[in-house]
Structure formats: structure tokens, C-alpha cells
């Protein structure tokens, strides 16, 4: 549990979360959500929870991002707010 690495990853986590909510283009929002998943996977792996990190990498940064992008392709691409 390295404190400096923790702080850096957490700062990026907050930045990606805020950007993913604020950006207008939904396709970019899904991709940034995938980046968020990857960062939290790194956080869990660094804390020693390797099973959880494995699952998050497979589901969050893999399959869930594909589902979101498939949905964005089939509905509208610009957020209305």
C-alpha cells in the first residue's frame, strides 16, 4: 500500500468521474467510464485484493464499456443536459 501511488490514482479517479458526468458527448462519457473502471482496478490490485481487481478489469474495463458503447450507438449520441 504505497501512499503516493494511492494519492495519484485517487486524484485521477475523481477527475475522470467528474469529466465523465460533465461531458456532452455520450460516446466520450462511456470511454471515460472505462478509464474510471481501469483506475479503480489498479487501486484494488495495489491494496492486495487481486480477485476483485481481476473481476473489475474483465467486467468494467472490458465488457461493460462495450455494452455502453453499443447502447450509445443505438440511441442518440448527445446528452440533453
Amino acid at each position: 500500500m504505497i501512499p503516493a501511488l494511492d494519492v495519484i490514482i485517487l486524484v485521477f479517479l475523481v477527475i475522470t468521474a467528474v469529466i465523465s458526468l460533465r461531458v456532452r458527448d455520450l460516446l466520450s462519457a462511456s470511454m471515460i467510464f472505462g478509464a474510471y473502471s481501469f483506475l479503480i482496478c489498479l487501486l484494488w490490485a495495489e491494496m492486495g485484493a487481486v480477485d476483485v481487481a481481476f473481476t473489475e478489469a474483465a467486467v468494467g474495463a472490458g465488457v461493460s464499456t462495450v455494452f455502453l458503447i453499443a447502447t450509445v450507438f443505438n440511441t442518440c449520441r448527445n446528452s440533453s443536459d
Partner: protein, 247 residues
């Protein structure tokens, strides 16, 4: 109105940050997660009870296997719900083929080389879940993702020829049937539901190794369901329920 939302978020965030001051330090042996009697039982007794080195898999698939069974049922229900919702909506927008996405040669060849490797790795993660991180759910997701990669790099039709709708529905249902079947067999032999040690009567193992191998069977059941449902959700989401034309 949005200022109230912002205020609510700021107050909740401040309260949560204030509460983190009370959390135990990382790796503290006196924390409630480490020092409670049940954690001590798991940490000391899993190796003698089940011979499985990976404690996470042992707790998920043996001590708490009831919860894992219903997790698998929830995944199955989510897949069926997505199929049910998308199947009833008539496709009124323009055809997806007018998007003009070219099929690239480099991507196709690379994916064609990668997909068998990914599938073998998924089966390795499933089979080696007792000793390394992984297990049924992770292996199933990677296996489902390999089919999604096939559908993305080539055509949804090609992936559906490999894993047609009838096949993936049967696969997902039989995964849960396998899981519940192991539990029911344990109950029919006289033990409790999902009490694996009683299964040593019909296999050639002693009670401890019967738990070891039954964990592998239930993980295979979970992987079958998860793989089929991941591909089912992708196939229905990308073709808007019609399974005719993918992304």
C-alpha cells in the same frame, strides 16, 4: 433546483470524509474484518477443511455458495430481462448498415490470432481458480468477451453462427442447473443443500477432496451461465433485439 442537488452532494461527501477518519488502518490485525471469530475460522481452517489455497474462491464457492448461486441467477435474470425488453420494441429507426464502418484487415487478422488465446486463457482462469486469483465468474466473463470480440471484429452473423440464440439460452440455463444440481445431489444423499462433503459417497474421493472438486463443478456452472449471458446481452444490445445486424 440544481443548487439543492449540489448542496446535498457536498454535505454527504463531507460526512463520508469525516467518517473515514474512524476506519481501521490497512492490514490492522485488530480490525473487525480480521479479528472476528468467523474470519479467524476461515483463515485457519480453510486449508484443513477443503485443501484449497485461494481463500476467496473457497469462501465464495463453498462456505457462501448459496449466495453465489443466487448471484448467478441474478445474472441470468438480467440477461433474460434485456432480451425480453428489446424483443418487444419494433425497430423504427434507420438501418444500422448505413453507418459505413469499414471492416479493417489488420483488426480482423489480429483478432483471429488473439481469440483462441483468449479462450484458452479463460479456461485456464476457470480451472486454476483454486490456486490463483480468478475462478468461475472471471473465466466466464473473459470467455464471453472473446465471443464479443469475434462479433466486433468480423460480423455479428459469424458470432451467432458459432453461438446461436438457442445454444446460448440452453448454455446459460444449464449452468444454473449444474450449480443447483450439485446442491440437490448433496441434499438427496442426506446432507444439507450445497453441503459438498457428503458427495464423497458417490465419487471416489474422501470428504475433503469432495469439497475441492465440487467447487470446481459449481465454478464451471457459473462460468457457463456468465459466458452465455455476456454474449446474449451484447448480441441483443447491438442489434436492438433483432439479432440481424450488429455494430
Amino acid at each position: 433546483m440544481r443548487i439543492f442537488g449540489l448542496l446535498a452532494v457536498i454535505i454527504t461527501g463531507a460526512l463520508l470524509l469525516y467518517a473515514t477518519a474512524d476506519l481501521p488502518t490497512w492490514g490492522d490485525p485488530g480490525s473487525p474484518a480480521n479479528a472476528s471469530p468467523i474470519s479467524q475460522y476461515y483463515i485457519t481452517q480453510i486449508e484443513t477443511d477443503t485443501h484449497v489455497p485461494n481463500m476467496v474462491t473457497a469462501v465464495l464457492a463453498d462456505y457462501r455458495s448459496y449466495d453465489t448461486m443466487f448471484e448467478t441467477v441474478v445474472i441470468f435474470a438480467a440477461g433474460i430481462a434485456i432480451i425480453g425488453v428489446l424483443r418487444g420494441i419494433p425497430v423504427t429507426r434507420k438501418s444500422l448498415g448505413s453507418r459505413g464502418v469499414q471492416k479493417d484487415c489488420i483488426i480482423q487478422v489480429t483478432c483471429r490470432l488473439l481469440i483462441p488465446v483468449i479462450q484458452v486463457f479463460a479456461l485456464y482462469v476457470l480451472a486454476h481458480g483454486h490456486h490463483s486469483p480468478g475462478g468461475g465468474f472471471q473465466g466466464g466473463v473473459i470467455l464471453g468477451a472473446s465471443f464479443i470480440l469475434l462479433a466486433l471484429s468480423r460480423d455479428l452473423d459469424l458470432a451467432l453462427k458459432r453461438l446461436s440464440e438457442k445454444r446460448f439460452l440452453i448454455l446459460s440455463a444449464s449452468g444454473i442447473l449444474l450449480y443447483a444440481g450439485v446442491g440437490l445431489t448433496a441434499e438427496l444423499l442426506g446432507g444439507n443443500f450445497l453441503d459438498y462433503s457428503i458427495l464423497h459417497k458417490i465419487t471416489l474421493y474422501d470428504p475433503i477432496m469432495a469439497r475441492y472438486w465440487s467447487m470446481l463443478w459449481v465454478e464451471i456452472g457459473v462460468a457457463m451461465t456468465v459466458c452465455a449471458i455476456m454474449f446474449a446481452i451484447y448480441a441483443n444490445l447491438s442489434s436492438r433485439g433483432s439479432l440481424k445486424e450488429g455494430l
